[in-house]
Amino acid sequence: MSKATYIEHNGTIRTIEVDDGLSLMEAAVANMIPGIDGDCGGAAACATCHVHVAEEWMDKLPAMEALEQSMLDMAADSDHCSRLACQIKMSTKLDGIIVRTPVGQH
């Protein structure tokens, strides 16, 4: 179990416990975190799980695959901290991670 914090565009903060191995998308969906729908179930096909990872956590994440990068290139509100939450698998290394959900996903 590790902790993950989701910050909504309006400032609402939710911290939840996530089983290692689950993705940040799966954890958000199971806890009804607004702004993360996960429509494609983690196939990196829909971008409804787009999040902005807090700057200080960026270098702890494994590098993006080309498909994820390409999916984000054109996603609304995308920036250098953008990731697909379905591609981030939780682990103790990521205990405490903070992500923000984009305005457009609410």
Binding site: P34, A43, A45, C46, A47, L67, S70, D73, M74
Partner: protein, 408 residues
């Protein structure tokens, strides 16, 4: 509108989304979801992909963990079937005679695989793929070296071909149409998939009708219109879906290749809605009526219905989209290509990264993006906006996707 009871018939993506969205919309009444499957609502796409390959644990298929439904006070009645709707007294009847009253009813009954109709179609080794039970049956036959004959060269059939090849089975695909994916895509994309599958060792035969199944209990043989006999260890047929409309029809709800609904998922009977694969609905982008089989459609209709029940209007007006994963090829398709008169290919199939744009009198109808997620995302918004981009410009790869969008 926050008290009362919503009864949801069905336990798939559309049913689950409706229940979840009702709570997100602030619905405070009771929600009862009745499914004839024994497990909580789950995703079907992995059934022909990672889950079939044994790479995904069953719980990971579930759309939400069981505890979620408890927390949200969504009552799941699993392994129960609704057998009748009483539209006068607003209640549904379950198989065992129990009756349940509703203020609003949502039909999310999905569909069932179209069955092969031919002599021998009751063969115990003829399988279909729609639910977790089907997967379990198929998985018991996935032995390296075994020969699987797949009837139907649509997305599901081809995804099964990709998985079974990876598991080292011998794979034959039989398609009645002259090419694979004939109903859904253009010859360029169909040809690409044919070459990819053949390169992976799949034996593909198009233009072949299955006329019968012969052979003994453990060795079915497909008989074809061109007088061949194809022996296999098992068969999986993926030849389309029939919407589950009987429950609605018997209740006098208007159906026409699906339960007929409006932009807010209302059926012809007040207080009764329908969502997902079972609906025939208007599509504002194309000014036509369609029945779609896709997760995004189920999700959007679920959201629309929940809003409508809560007295808010969120009409369903989205560009349809879909994806398919085969080997390392990701296809994302947006829009409906029906009626296209021109195809523009951007990129080259040989590079395994290209997009096929479908135009009708210059208007962009649809796109098939192969290993090109960025283009898919942009093109989807172009389709929604009804953009026109000159064919020569679309095909010109020296213009970046971003600039195509900017200048269009």
């Amino acid at each position: 509108m926050s008290t009362g009871t919503v009864v949801i018939v069905g336990g798939g993506q559309a049913a689950a989304q409706t229940a979840v969205s009702l709570r997100q919309e602030g619905y405070a009444g009771s929600i009862v979801l009745i499914s004839d499957e024994a497990v909580p609502p789950y995703q079907r796409p992995p059934l022909s992909k990672a889950y079939l390959a044994g790479q995904l644990a069953p719980e990971r298929l579930f759309l939400r963990p069981l505890a979620f439904y408890e927390q949200q006070k969504i009552e799941l009645r699993l392994d129960r079937r609704v057998t009748r709707i009483d539209v006068i007294n607003h209640q549904v009847e379950l198989g065992d005679g129990e009756c349940l009253g509703f203020d609003h009813l949502v039909l999310a009954t999905g569909g069932r695989p179209r069955a092969l109709v031919c002599p021998g179609a009751e063969h115990p080794r003829l399988h279909y793929l729609r639910n977790v039970k089907d997967v379990a049956a198929i998985q018991s036959r996935l032995k390296p070296g075994a020969h699987v004959a797949l009837v139907g060269g649509g997305y599901i059939g081809l995804e099964i071909a990709a998985v079974t090849r990876k598991l080292e089975l011998e794979v034959t695909v039989l398609e009645a149409a002259p090419s694979l994916l004939a109903r859904v895509t253009c010859p360029q994309v169909a040809g690409f998939y044919q070459r990819e599958h053949e390169a992976h060792g799949v034996n593909i035969r198009c233009g072949v009708m299955v006329t019968g199944i012969d052979g003994d209990e453990t060795h079915p043989a497909l008989l074809t219109g061109d007088h061949q006999r194809i022996e296999a260890d098992f068969i999986v047929a993926g030849i389309g879906l029939l919407p589950n409309v009987e429950l609605a029809m018997t209740a006098g709800i208007i159906c026409d290749n699906g339960i007929v609904v409006d932009e807010e998922c209302r059926t012809s009977v007040p207080r009764i809605y329908a969502v997902g694969d079972c609906t025939q609905h208007p599509n504002s982008v194309y000014q036509t009526r369609v029945r779609l089989e896709s997760v995004p459609n189920a999700i959007e209709q679920g959201k629309t219905t929940a809003a409508a029940i809560c007295g808010k209007s969120k009409p369903y007006r989205a560009v349809p989209w879909f994806w398919s994963d085969q080997y390392d090829i990701k296809l994302q398709t947006a829009g409906l290509n029906r009626g296209y008169d021109e195809v523009v290919i951007r990129g080259t199939p040989e590079s395994r990264s290209f997009a096929a744009y479908y135009l009708q009198a210059g208007r962009l109808l649809a796109v098939d993006a192969i290993n090109r997620p960025a283009e898919f995302t942009v093109a989807k918004s172009w389709i929604a906006e009804g953009l026109r981009i000159p064919a020569a410009r679309l095909a010109d790869e020296s213009i970046t996707v971003k600039n195509l969008a900017a200048a269009a």
